[in-house]
């Protein structure tokens, strides 16, 4: 069963604009969420996380929002840069459930 879902396999945005990547989960027991970024031929690297006691966590250009009632989180990248082009994975810690990933392309 897919307890963490990223329903958009790809996203394309213009440089300088906002990128919004979405993630939904089904298990209300999940209490910690992570976003990973993955470049081709490399392993995923940790990007940003959020605990369920918060609804927002910001780190530079990256902000993660958590809506517990909707079981939804989103990653905002502002402003987007071409170097942000990668696959982004949402994961829920508990048993480390991963979404399928969203491929972000930032066009110059």
């Amino acid at each position: 069963d897919q307890q963490v879902k990223q329903n958009s396999p790809s996203l394309s945005v213009q440089e300088g604009r906002i990128s919004i990547l979405n993630c939904d989960y089904t298990n209300s027991m999940f209490d910690y969420f992570l976003w990973y970024k993955k470049y081709p031929a490399e392993g995923p690297t940790f990007l940003i996380s959020i605990s369920s006691i918060k609804d927002k966590n910001e780190d530079g250009r990256f902000t993660v929002f958590l809506n517990k009632s909707a079981k939804h989180l989103s990653l905002h990248i502002v402003p987007s840069q071409p170097g942000d082009s990668a696959v982004y994975f949402c994961a829920a810690e508990g048993d480390m459930r991963f979404g399928a990933g969203t491929r972000l392309t930032v066009k110059p």
Binding site: Y36, G43, T45, A100
Partner: protein, 116 residues
């Protein structure tokens, strides 16, 4: 997409023992990987499991400690040998599929290992 199952989902083991983790995929895949997620650290690639040949290990990981088998295109095992508390981690199997113009990566549910 690929559906991945792992066994066991979690285990508590004694120091000095070994544990073998199984990964089963519902379709044939070329690329299978084993990752480790230690508390507070990033996801770390242990090795690429190659079908019919020895696994390719990343820096810092060796076959004697983490022997890997890949007998076919849908199954792989990772053994954590001679365990110590530092091996306590979540171990994840992952596969990469070729779906048209884009390769996609999927992760299994993970195996939470605690070493006492």
């Amino acid at each position: 997409s690929a559906v991945i199952s792992q066994k066991p989902s979690r285990d508590i083991c004694q120091r000095g023992t070994s544990l073998t983790i199984q990964c089963q995929v519902d379709s044939q895949v070329t690329m299978m990987f084993w990752y480790r997620q230690q508390p507070g650290q990033s996801l770390t690639l242990i090795a690429t499991a190659n079908q019919g040949s020895e696994a390719t290990y990343e820096s810092g990981f060796v076959i004697d400690k983490f022997p890997i088998s890949r007998p076919n295109l849908t199954f792989s095992t990772l053994t954590v040998s001679n365990m110590s508390p530092e091996d306590s981690s979540i171990y994840l199997c992952s596969v990469e599929t070729s779906g048209g113009a884009v390769n996609e990566q999927f992760f299994g549910p993970g195996t939470r290992l605690t070493v006492l």
